[in-house]
């Protein structure tokens, strides 16, 4: 889908300050710069409250930067763009709609409104994430992991070129989380979009990503940018390897010993 190798997302000296000019001034994100190449899976790793979610929301166009600029697919970001898919920590499904209708929810927005919403594509996506037979279930009839699977489908149904994920699995238990990582990997390999994944789990970042960016405590700034060498497709068993754990150890050190 994307021309490989080109910078797809460019974040240039981006910063966010809340309550500027008052005594409650909080610098959430210190000027940060990085790029994400087309088709790359990048994890943004950092401790809670380091501003990584704020950074992601700015890239989504949902939060205005205090300074700096963002460019996505060659265009400066000032507002949300139609070709970005997004996932939050909570599945944000509409409780009164079935799983299938939730996946089709993006087509209620004016610019995507079609005479025939792509029901087949939505149904196929639900099957792909293992929800065959659950299309008509309401969110309250689904487990937490199943709800996030529906949310993945909703983010992918309009075929975005960029998928932004804000700690999407952090509310799930460890076993479900491993499952969801496998599902996400599979969906990413099948649909190939550029992905930016915010997490505070070191292992999750190393398992999922081509590159891991480490953010320091507030005010957040990028303190490490490493490439993860494992070949794809990756099984969960790579988590047992020495190399995997060495990388995790290195990242943990970066998070703990960041200069203030």
């Amino acid at each position: 889908m994307n021309a490989a190798g080109a910078d797809y997302v460019i974040v240039d000296r981006l910063s966010k300050v809340y309550n500027e000019g008052t005594r409650q001034r909080v610098e959430a994100v210190a000027p940060s710069s990085f790029t994400v190449k087309a088709g790359e899976f990048v994890a943004l790793l950092g401790p809670s409250g380091c501003g990584k979610s704020t950074l992601l929301m700015m890239i989504a166009g949902l939060d205005a930067p205090s300074a700096g600029r963002i460019e996505v697919a060659g265009r400066a970001m000032t507002a949300p763009r139609a070709e970005t898919g997004i996932m939050f920590q909570d599945p944000t499904l509409l409780p009164w709609k079935s799983a299938l209708d939730n996946v089709l929810f993006p087509f209620l927005a004016a610019q995507r409104q079609a005479a025939n919403p792509p029901v087949d594509r939505a149904a196929a996506l639900l099957d792909e994430v293992g929800l065959r037979g659950f299309h008509d279930h309401k969110p309250r009839q689904l487990s937490g992991g199943m709800r996030q699977r529906v949310a993945i489908c909703r983010a992918l149904v309009y075929e975005p070129d960029l998928l932004l994920m804000d700690e999407p699995f952090s509310a799930l238990d460890a076993i479900t989380r491993d499952e969801m990582n496998l599902v996400l990997m599979k969906m990413w390999q099948d649909h190939r979009h550029t992905a930016l994944f915010v997490t505070h789990s070191i292992r999750e970042a190393v398992y999922l990503a081509d590159r891991v960016l480490v953010m320091s405590r507030r005010p957040g700034r990028i303190v490490e940018d490493i490439r993860i060498p494992f070949a794809r497709p990756r099984g969960l068993e790579i988590g047992e390897t020495v190399e995997f754990n060495k990388i995790c150890g290195h990242l943990r050190g970066k998070i703990e010993h960041v200069p203030h």
Binding site: G61, F88, D90, T92, L94, A109
Partner: protein, 270 residues
């Protein structure tokens, strides 16, 4: 349903036996309490423990109700329809104003204190002012009813429109939905349980409003009969009117409960 190895009877529909058993457990205690209360009242009144003039026996009240039923039902009509008009208008106005105020933060900050201020006024105190402005008659009673029933609906609507967790708004914005779509598809459905609890309070207020109007304008309606019978020491008639007024309230309240059940079944935000 998980099988826990107990010899539980499978619940089939219709399970009238189960319904009867559960129903009995539900109804028996309040029924016993009511029997005790009314039985005691009946006895006290008959034995002259309380003056039958001030507190006639329940049987006497019921007797009066039956004898004057046609007149009372006649008088109940303006009260009932006044309350219906009151709550319907209050609902429409309250939801509209709540939505308008929720649309912009500036508008909210500007208008909300005023709404709260008006809610703090004992509205009964304003009844004479309404008499002055709108005269006597059905319309005046309805306007007063709307004025009273409107506040719980506005406040509930404003609270309800904040019920959708913040990420839903982010989701809609990222999907480039218009604010109108976000309102219709997400915020309003999430607000419905709140709005209905506001309406439940509003219904009872609407009845109060109409009766207050009838007290003051004193021309027709159950409120007028209550006032009239009190002035003439017709306590049995007074209590019978109040009984019928309860009936009016129950009919309206039940209607809104049923409406709520239907709507919440569709827009179930649990």
């Amino acid at each position: 349903m998980t099988d826990i190895g107990l010899p539980l009877r499978r619940l089939t529909w219709p399970d009238f036996a189960g319904l009867g058993r559960d129903g009995a457990r539900l109804i028996a205690p309040p029924l016993a309490a009511a029997t005790l209360l009314f039985g005691g009242w009946e006895l006290a009144s008959r034995n002259g423990l309380v003056s039958a003039r001030l507190l006639p026996a329940p049987s006497k009240v019921f007797d009066t109700l039956m004898r004057s039923l046609s007149i009372l039902l006649d008088q109940a009509q303006p009260t009932f329809w006044g309350a219906v008009a009151g709550i319907v208008l209050a609902a429409a106005l309250g939801i509209a104003l709540g939505a308008a105020v929720s649309y912009s933060r500036t508008l909210m900050q500007a208008v909300y204190p005023t709404i709260v201020f008006f809610q703090l006024i004992p509205k009964v105190a304003l009844a004479p002012v309404f008499l002055l402005w709108f005269g006597t008659g059905f319309a005046a009673n309805v306007i007063f009813s709307v004025f009273i029933a409107f506040f719980p609906v506005v406040v509930a609507t404003i609270a309800g429109l904040q019920a959708a967790p913040p990420n839903y708004e982010r989701l809609c914005r990222s999907l480039m939905m218009s604010r109108a779509q976000m309102f219709l598809r997400v915020k309003f459905p999430f607000a419905l349980p709140h709005i209905f609890s506001g309406l439940r309070i509003g219904v009872t207020f609407a009845v109060i409003g109409v009766v207050l109007g009838e007290f003051i304008t004193a021309q027709v309606g159950l409120g007028y009969i209550i006032l009239f019978s009190a002035n003439n020491f017709e306590t049995a008639l007074l209590l019978a009117s109040i009984l019928l007024l309860c009936g009016v309230g129950i009919v309206l309240f039940t209607f809104f409960l049923a409406l709520e059940a239907v709507v919440i079944r569709i827009y179930d935000s649990r």
